[in-house]
């Protein structure tokens, strides 16, 4: 599945949704695409029952240039300790799901786009995020098609007809 996290009224925080919409068109079959504005343990409901998941989200680490695409695997978060569901989210979910033996994706890729400021109330992306969107989508597409073997749908606009 593809799970998009974010908030579409906080500008670039909604970049995951933009990516998800495009991936939903490209992979109409075999990949469920879900968008959610929820956080924390609510995400368990979305991920449960899947074998593999790509999570797309905006991130503001402040350590890379806006527009950088960052990727992790769930295992990368294993040593982190998060004290609150408000902050924790993903790593804590992985621990918890594993611990209680849920049917949870064994292969989770977190693909995040570094954004400058995901705290601005507006419904559109900044030009920087807009420009980085193709690369962001491409990384998710690469995982889905090259690594996991899902064939993207060919559209009239593709040059590979």
């Amino acid at each position: 599945m593809v799970l998009a996290l974010g908030n579409d009224i906080l500008g670039d925080d909604g970049v995951g949704f933009h990516a998800a919409r495009s991936l939903g068109t490209e992979f109409p079959e075999g990949v469920d695409v879900v968008e959610t504005g929820e956080a924390g343990l609510a995400l368990l409901d979305h991920l449960e029952g899947y074998d593999r998941a790509v999570i797309v989200d905006a991130i503001a680490t402040g350590r890379c240039a806006p527009g950088t695409v960052l990727t992790w695997r769930a295992e990368d978060f294993r040593d982190m300790v998060a004290p609150s569901p408000h902050f924790a989210g993903l790593p804590e979910l992985f621990h918890l799901a594993q611990r209680v033996g849920m049917h949870f994706p064994q292969d989770i890729r977190v693909i995040a786009l570094e954004v400058a400021d995901p705290t601005v109330f507006r419904e559109t992306l900044t030009p920087q995020a807009q420009a980085a969107l193709p690369a962001f989508v491409a990384e998710a597409r690469r995982v889905l098609s090259e690594e996991w073997g899902h064939a993207p749908r060919r559209t009239a606009c593709t040059s590979t007809l």
Partner: protein, 507 residues
């Protein structure tokens, strides 16, 4: 003025100007901001002791600008997107503001469906808090090693089965919310005068079963709290310790019998002695609540207008008040359901009578409230009106002003909209739960810092203790954080008498 004082003064002045400019910016820019990352500023005096410590928490700024010109009916969808943790609270406060805006009383069935959804949400959110957020402090224990102070540690202590139970109970209770609101990114439930979708009689048996399981889970949680927390003298001592105590006013919503109500009622405020100070319909909130502004923070500090702002001080003469579970129990004369009432009485008896001023008691008060939410769920699922066909009263009047209130898990949440005659927003003001608590949170952080930094020595436990001081309030700053998963962006700046940065503690 001597030099040092002058410098501090100039610095404060500069900050005030900066804050003012930022505010100015909001009014001219068609965007608004959500700010704050759990930043704590500690100002030291020349002796190396704490002069004043501040916590910066995020505030919705100029949300008004974003809402202007939009149809009021969109507000339940828009505001539910403000927070990924409690969309249901915003959605419901907005729906109630719409009732008021169109001067329409929801049909009995519409109201009961809303109440059903809302109590389901309270139960689920409180359960999460007890096990996941409060858990590290209480169930695992405040002195447990850092690597155990998380949900995995909690499960280690209460057992795997309980962990599974928490997860499955949560999911099942959410089925009720999803059925009524739709499992979509923006819930569609509340409309002026009622709800968008009724409950099919065929669903009732399932909902009754879920409600009953929820009640058993709440009972079980009270038992866990007894076994692990209350049988431990060290915990009780910590709850009642001076470091986590402030004698302030308390605010909460009550029904006509002055019992706790999460969905509807009047707002009641009690004094630090527990006497009724005021009781008012939410429409009058501007007569009772005013907001104080400090130069060092862009966040506003609401206070009781009739008492007045006297600074970050406790006592009857200071308008500082608190909301959230502990405050709700203080502000009411009891719980609305029998088992919760029993738990309520026990709570006050164990903590030395009413009102309770110990911030950490919020964790216990939350368990008492879980019981009420669950008992109310059981009642509602057995109410024949729940499946009625008349789910909405159609509004016919011209809209003008609407104010709605609910008790969110984290405290009183007020939505206030004004519109033109077509129902397009001309003004929107939200008082979110954490904002009501902002002055008291600032006092708690200040007290914790003062206890931990003496004569220039900064205790290593600073972060944890300061965190505990504000974590009990469960301040909502989740929406503003987009840092690397797993890192809580807590930042402590220690500043000297001249305002210069001495040390930065970051995690």
């Amino acid at each position: 003025m001597d030099n040092t004082v002058q410098k501090v003064w100039d610095k404060a002045q500069a900050k005030a100007n900066e804050g003012y400019m930022r505010q100015r910016k909001v009014s001219i820019d068609p965007i608004t901001r959500l700010e704050g990352h759990g930043k704590i500023e500690i100002f030291m005096n020349e002796q190396g002791n704490v002069d004043r410590a501040y916590l910066q928490i995020p505030e919705l700024r100029g949300f008004e600008v974003f809402s202007l010109g939009r149809p009021a009916e969109d507000m339940p969808q828009i505001t539910s997107r403000i927070c990924g943790v409690c969309p249901t609270a915003h959605h419901m406060a907005a729906a109630k503001a719409l009732d008021d805006l169109y001067q329409v009383e929801p049909s009995a069935t519409g109201r009961k469906i809303r109440e059903l959804v809302y109590n389901a949400f309270m139960l689920e959110d409180h359960a999460l808090h007890v096990y996941v957020l409060g858990g590290p402090d209480f169930i695992v224990g405040p002195d447990a090693p850092k690597e155990l102070r998380n949900i995995v540690g909690v499960i280690g202590k209460v057992g795997l089965e309980v962990g599974k139970r928490v997860i499955s109970m949560r999911r099942r209770v959410r089925e009720i919310i999803n059925y009524a609101g739709g499992k979509v990114i923006h819930p569609v439930l509340g409309l002026p005068g009622g709800v968008a979708k009724g409950i099919a009689p065929s669903e009732v048996a399932k909902f009754q079963e879920i409600a009953q399981d929820g009640l058993e889970f709440a009972r079980f949680t009270l038992q866990v709290f007894h076994d692990i927390v209350l049988k431990n003298d060290a915990y009780l001592k910590m709850i009642t310790s001076d470091a986590f105590t402030h004698k302030t006013y308390y605010m909460g919503m009550v029904d006509k019998n002055n019992k706790v109500n999460f969905y509807d009622g009047q707002i009641r405020v009690v004094t630090p002695e527990g006497k009724e100070h005021s009781k008012f319909p939410v429409q009058d909130y501007l007569e009772h609540i005013a907001e104080h502004v400090e130069p060092w923070s862009y966040i506003k500090f609401p206070y009781l207008k009739k008492v007045g702002w006297k600074g970050f001080v406790e006592g009857e003469g200071s308008g500082v008040y608190a909301v959230a579970p502990m405050a709700r129990l203080n502000a009411a004369e009891g719980m609305a359901t029998p088992e919760a009432q029993k738990a309520y009485e026990e709570y006050f008896k164990a903590l030395g009578g009413k009102p309770v001023h110990h911030t950490l008691a919020n964790h216990w008060a939350r368990v008492v409230e879980m019981l009420q939410a669950a008992e109310r769920l059981v009642e509602l699922t057995h109410d024949p009106e729940l499946t009625g066909k008349d789910i909405r009263t159609l509004p016919t009047k011209t809209p003008k002003v609407g104010v709605g209130v609910v008790e969110a898990p984290r405290g009183t949440l007020i939505h206030h909209y004004e519109t033109d005659e077509r129902g397009l927003i001309t003004k929107a003001n939200l008082i979110v739960a954490t904002l009501n608590n902002s002055a008291r949170i600032a006092m708690s952080v200040d007290k914790a810092a003062k206890g931990l930094i003496q004569n220039g020595n900064v205790s290593d436990g600073l972060l944890n203790k300061v965190e505990m001081a504000f974590r009990a309030y469960d301040p909502c700053f989740g929406c503003a954080t987009h840092t690397l998963p797993g890192e809580m962006p807590l930042l402590v700046n220690l500043r000297g008498a001249d305002g210069s940065l001495i040390r930065e503690i970051r995690r």
